[in-house]
Amino acid sequence: MTAHAHKLCMLGDFGVGKTSLVARFVHSTFSEKYLTTVGVKVDSKEVALPGRATMKLVVWDIAGRSQLDSLNMTYLRGASALLLVADGTRERSLHAALNLLMQSRTLLPDAVVALAVNKLDLVEQWEVAPAALEELRRTLPVHETSARSGAGVEAAFADIATRLAE
């Protein structure tokens, strides 16, 4: 039986680790080398949910931007979920992620959304204060993740898959 597929778009500023999160989630790999994404890279993974049918997440890793342009809007069409990504060591990237969320809402008002604050392995260098995430959690599911160590990555994608299945 073919698993039901959902399109999930990764959104966030450049260098926050979107591609690394996808690599960790889909292939369980991590590369220290930063290679900027041009356009979009599409990957997919089947996710087993307890008590539910297996779901296929088609993950669109969209090139990093702090603002959505027409090209990004093209890629977003048809998405049912968004994983916003910020880099904990760059507070500015959190603002960018929230800005992208607001812009994407016009095109995808009903998309399931979560925020991944990445680079938890560098928590000693984080600019994003715990209180900021505590506040954000009131309106948005927030996950601290590390693509390098894998911490929180499965949980972030599983959270989205679970809510897509509801």
Binding site: T36, V38, G39, V42, G78, E124
Partner: protein, 526 residues
């Protein structure tokens, strides 16, 4: 439909089409409305499409158009495919079917990537540079703060030394008193007298050595921590007599301490220093005199105290006159017992008390040291509320310990158990997060250098979920940066290994007594 090349001969048009087809490495797939492949033309292998088993590739293409209508033209530029190549994707509806056209975008993607990579890396470097400059500024502020803190610590050290000095003196004074009493009652028991004298000699040496080392422990640049109080000069003279007469008499020396008080005004001095000056001078005089006498003439007159300590000892050679006040220098007394600190300490104390110190000496004839000290100003009495606060009672308080080193975990468990805590131990950060939220301990004590999720990351996760309990982090890294990072992650206290037990107990008391902010469930979002 408008022809692509209306004004050129068909042969040219065909040629151009062929050229374009080759250059863009086009792949055209035709599907019916149910995504069943009807036709495939072009360079399938280049795009990772297996023409003999196209099902998997078709699924990949379906995923790319997921959520999009196949009844409308679709244009998706720069899509990186599973085999790593990049394509511009077009979906072209055609009555009850549709075509998917893939055009090579790899070269253009690589060009754009190279440009973007440089731009992005420059932007990241610029952000890192700004951050580094900010950190440098912070470091400078921190250095200034540390400097102020060092000065404060220095003052505290001096206060501690003064207290220690006093604490040493109290029992030694008692020892001298009882030695004198025991000596009187020893009657004619010569061996007992001899033993008591040996004890006195060594106690005197210990006393002066301890006092001198403690005094030397202060740095030269330290502001003198004087404590001027009214001094009973008669009692001081009696103490000196009791301390040194037996030693002098044991060596067959004449010994006297004369005190003359010619001023009705009460003498005010830092008694500890005054006593130490006279003890050091008398100690040297007795130690380096084999025959003759040792005398101290002390006069209180005209708001000034003058003391002359003279002996008929070995004297100080002219060659050593300039170095006699240098620490650890015994001058002409080389090879003799002593740390070589006595005269340097006397010099420092006299300077601190704004007095003068001169000496005359002749080898083989003896020495005379003259000290003059102006009256000091009495200080206000300390306030009663300076007393140390009582310890908090920790019985029944709960603590969660997270440490993956079982030896350390057991040590912490024992220490905290002794303090009255109910202790629970976990071996990793993730368990600490779960247990802290579920169990709400009064204190969470967590090691920073845990394998896997770090202690700081766990603290951050707790705080970002609204956890309000007290958190103490424990680390083997004793740097300010590590401390700041832990506090920034949300810890309340930062302790370093190896444990300073006193500090550990103090911090645990502080943390346990602070309790939970906000009460209730602490607003934790699990």
């Amino acid at each position: 439909m408008t022809p692509a090349f209306p004004s050129v001969p068909s042969r040219v048009s065909d040629y151009l089409c062929e050229l374009f087809w080759q250059r863009v490495r086009a792949l055209l797939l035709t599907f019916d409305a149910g995504w069943r492949l009807r036709d495939l033309r072009g360079d399938a292998i280049y795009y990772g499409v297996d023409g003999s088993q196209p099902e998997k590739s078709v699924q990949m293409l379906r995923d790319l158009f997921l959520g999009l209508s196949i009844d409308e033209p679709q244009d998706l530029p720069f899509v990186e495919l599973a085999n790593g190549t990049s394509a511009h994707l077009h979906l072209i509806p055609d009555r009850d079917a549709f075509h998917v056209l893939l055009l090579d975008a790899a070269a253009e993607r690589d060009r754009q990537r190279a440009t973007q990579q440089i731009g992005n890396e420059q932007a990241l470097a610029s952000q890192a540079k700004s951050k580094a400059i900010g950190q440098l500024k912070q470091i400078r502020t921190e250095l200034e703060r540390q400097h102020a803190k060092l000065e404060e610590a220095h003052a505290l050290k001096n206060a501690l030394i003064a207290t220690l000095s006093h604490e040493f003196r109290t029992p030694l004074t008692s020892i001298f008193g009882y030695l004198q009493l025991a000596d009187r009652r020893a009657n004619d028991d010569a061996s007992l007298h001899e033993a008591l004298h040996a004890v006195r000699r060594n106690a005197t040496y210990l006393f002066t050595l301890a006092e001198n080392l403690l005094e030397y422990g202060r740095s030269d640049g330290a502001a003198p921590l004087l404590n001027p109080t009214p001094v009973d000069l008669e009692a001081l003279a009696a103490d000196l007599d009791a301390m040194f007469r037996p030693l002098a008499e044991e060596k067959g020396l004449d010994f006297r301490v004369n005190m003359k008080i010619d001023d009705a005004e009460q003498p005010v001095f830092d008694e500890i220093r005054l006593r130490q000056i006279l003890v050091n001078l008398l100690s040297n005089a007795v130690r380096y005199t084999r025959h003759g006498e040792v005398a101290a003439e002390i006069v209180w007159r005209g708001e000034e105290l003058s003391a002359v300590v003279s002996d008929t000892g070995i004297g100080i050679a002219a060659a050593h006159r300039d170095t006699v006040f240098t620490p650890f220098n015994r001058g002409g007394h080389a090879g003799r017992k002593g740390a070589g600190l006595g005269l340097s300490i006397v010099r420092r104390m006299v300077d601190q008390m704004h007095g003068t110190l001169v000496f005359e000496s002749e080898v083989g004839r003896g020495s005379a040291f003259r000290v003059t000290l102006p009256r000091g100003r009495e200080r206000a009495a300390p306030r009663a509320d300076d007393a140390i606060a009582p310890r908090f009672w920790l019985q029944g308080r709960s603590i969660l310990v997270a440490d993956d080193d079982t030896d350390v975990a057991h040590l912490l468990e024992a220490l905290l158990g002794d303090l009255g805590f109910r202790v629970r131990v976990v071996g990793d950060a993730q368990s600490a997060v779960v247990e802290a939220i579920a169990g709400r301990p009064d204190v969470l004590l967590i090691d920073v250098e845990l394998s896997g999720l770090s202690g700081n990351a766990a603290v951050y996760k707790l705080r970002s979920r609204g956890y309000k309990g007290r958190i103490v982090t424990l680390s083997a890294t004793a740097t300010n940066e590590a401390r700041e990072a832990a506090l920034r992650a949300g810890a309340d206290h930062y302790l370093t290994k190896p444990l300073n037990v006193e500090q550990f107990v103090h911090v645990m008391q502080q943390a346990a007594s602070a309790g939970w902010d906000g009460g209730g469930d602490g607003g934790v979002i699990a």
